[in-house]
């Protein structure tokens, strides 16, 4: 009896490493709404088909829960081998990401085909830690039916702040003290673009800041402008209200907002909308300045990955021409980051692709450095909350945190 048990155990033990060795196991984590998932799935199955020895386990979570999980895994020294990531410098500063420069040099990965400015937000102190998937270029989505019904001329591509505000006003439907339809809805993290469109800046340098600049007049004016659309005109929901209502895409789909400013992923989300919509270039600043977002989320390798060689192989496929082309051609699209590649540019054939490509030329890198998350959560966001809720003017709120923010920058 005992011998039988022993033998079974021994044969099982002999089997286990054999199966494990035949397969290289990789874990790949990413976030996304259901509409955004197909390209990820396609890339994984394409890669597995080409590399039968590689078995990729996928970890998917919606945006809201993704980072809680990833952070916990990374803190435990574990986590996926390759993952979709943002706030790269914060993770890099904690030593959680594998520096990629050597891998790129050794394998001859065509990093030159990427927008070099965009790579900066994926770097820390000169070393590259992730390769961007896309350029998070925004555009103005508008409900064509609502425009016709309100008798507003559609955006001609040259709208400035005041044109946008005026249209938002005309499109807003009021029922007593309540708003049945807002003219406009914005994403909560979009305000730095407005600051830049007005010639202001958040810090003196987006990647290695020494000075807080959000309290300067140009920046203050931009923040106040957004605040006024929320509280004075009431043509836009506060960010907190918008989030409670399911976010900008939900507001747009349910026709509770006639215009939203969002990225190319919404092309897929809005595909089945029960009304006609179109996409226009972003509003310009009052002096015609065109500014859009630069850089997007990227793919990184875990500093603790078990098999870095295999992880890099997969990562370079993901971020290479083939992977980029799959993302670019997906219906829930993304403006490709590998903009220097003709194959990739051609694959990006979504409706209104030309609008997004033209807008991607105006990219401005958003602040991105190691303790940006702390500074935002502790100081900037609370100050902005007060403006969005109409409880303080931009001038008071933004000046009030200057000392604290500068002290943190100096640390």
């Amino acid at each position: 009896m005992n011998r039988l048990l022993l033998m079974t155990a021994a044969s099982l033990a002999a089997l286990a490493p054999a199966t494990a060795m035949a397969q290289t196991a990789l874990t790949f984590a990413y976030w996304g709404d259901p509409a955004e998932l197909p390209p990820f799935e396609e890339i994984v199955s394409t890669y597995e088909a080409a590399h039968p020895d590689v078995d990729i386990t996928v970890q998917h979570a919606p945006w809201s829960g993704y980072f809680t999980r990833l952070d916990t895994q990374l803190a435990a020294g574990a986590g996926p081998d390759v993952f979709f990531i943002t706030n790269v410098p914060s993770y890099a500063a904690r030593g959680q990401l594998e520096p990629l420069d050597q891998w790129i040099a050794d394998s001859g990965f065509p990093i030159d085909l990427y927008n070099q400015e965009a790579l900066k937000s994926h770097s820390l102190e000169g070393a590259l830690y992730s390769i961007p998937r896309d350029n998070d270029t925004n555009a103005l989505y508008y409900n064509v039916d609502a425009f016709e019904e309100a008798g507003v001329a559609p955006p001609d591509g040259n709208w400035d702040w005041d044109d946008l505000r005026e249209a938002a006003n005309a499109l807003t439907q009021r029922e007593g003290s309540r708003i049945a339809r807002y003219g406009l809805a914005l994403e909560a993290n979009d305000w730095p673009i407005w600051v830049r469109q007005n010639g202001g800046e958040v810090f003196d340098d987006s990647f290695a800041p020494t000075q807080y600049r959000l309290d300067q007049p140009k920046a203050v004016e931009a923040i106040q402008f957004i605040g006024d659309m929320i509280n004075e005109d009431r043509v836009m929901p506060s960010f907190q209200e918008s989030q409670q209502s399911g976010g900008t895409s939900q507001l747009f789909l349910s026709q509770q907002a006639a215009m939203v400013i969002a990225n190319a992923a919404r092309l897929g989300t809005f595909a089945d909308a029960p009304f006609e919509w179109a996409v226009a270039p972003l509003q310009t600043g009052r002096d015609g300045t065109r500014v859009n977002r630069l850089g997007g989320a990227g793919f990184a390798m875990n500093a603790n990955a078990q098999n870095k060689e295999a992880a890099w192989q997969f990562l370079s496929f993901l971020a290479g021409e083939e992977g980029q082309a799959i993302f670019a051609s997906a219906s829930a699209s993304a403006v490709p980051a590998m903009i220097g590649s003709e194959t990739v540019r051609e694959a990006f054939s979504a409706p209104f692709a030309d609008v997004f490509l033209a807008e991607s030329e105006n990219g401005y890198p958003l602040p991105q450095f190691a303790n940006y998350v702390d500074i935002t959560n502790l100081y900037i966001q609370p100050a902005l909350d007060l403006v969005w809720s109409g409880e303080a003017t931009a001038e008071e709120a933004l000046a009030g945190i200057a000392g604290d923010v500068n002290a943190r920058l100096g640390q």
């Binding site: 952070d71 708003i179 907190q240 409670q244 509770q256 959560n377 609370p382 909350d385 969005w388 409880e391």
Partner: protein, 296 residues
Amino acid sequence: MAGRGSLARRDAVAAWLFLAPSLVLFITFTGLPVVAAFLISFTQWDLFNPAKFVGLGNYMTLARDGIFGKVMGNTAYFVLASVPAQMVLGLACALALNRGIRGQTFFRVAYFLPVVTSTIAAALVWAWLFNSNFGLINALLSAFGITDPPRWLGSTTWALPAVIVVSVWQNVGYAMVLFLAGLQNIPKDLYDAGAIDGAQGWRRFYYITLPMLSPTTFFVLIISIIGSFQVFELVFVMTNAGPANATNTLVFYIYQNGFQFYQMGYASAAAMVLFLIVLIATLVQYRLQTRWVHYG
């Protein structure tokens, strides 16, 4: 040989054996982490790189941290508002249900349901109700002619009260069930004797029910104070501590520092402050109980 001593020892061994499973779990998952957190609170540690000893540095920073001050204020506000509300409403429900009204079971279930409902799901639905423009609550208010209803979760004044309302709604049922059990343990003879002496209504409640119920009241008080100090999920889902930290509470701030900013030392120091507050509050309660708690 098999004397008294060895019997007692065998009993002790049996007792320890029975206690062992929960003791092991307690030491592994509560005891050791508490000791570890205490030690970590004297270091600067980001989870990834080696910890650096900083002595009382974290505690000094806490003392000067303006946001921590605000967080303490919010937590005090939360505890002082939600504990009495929970207790008074819980007792009122229990008294009403103890009279044997019709549909008792239905009401018991209805009031207890929030206790067993997933906090996350309930918080999401409440956030919808509180939506300043599309929400049901403001729709009702404007139906009653209030033209400028509060922005609830978007207002630094109203966000915390809104979270308190949800917390009370969620915990009243628990207090009610405990009070109900307490009420049913009061011997009928006391009321009969009281009736002979002419005690009616309010006096009956004040001189018989309240004192007889005091052990339950004491228990509910301790449990709800500790629970209120630890509020987290509601804040996490409904407001994410906003707007402008108006709903940031102690446990949320600990979470923020630990798992968003990776300052484990600082987070542990704040956790030690919470531990100390709850400990002192509980000790004070135990001291004071001799004056008002009557064990039949």
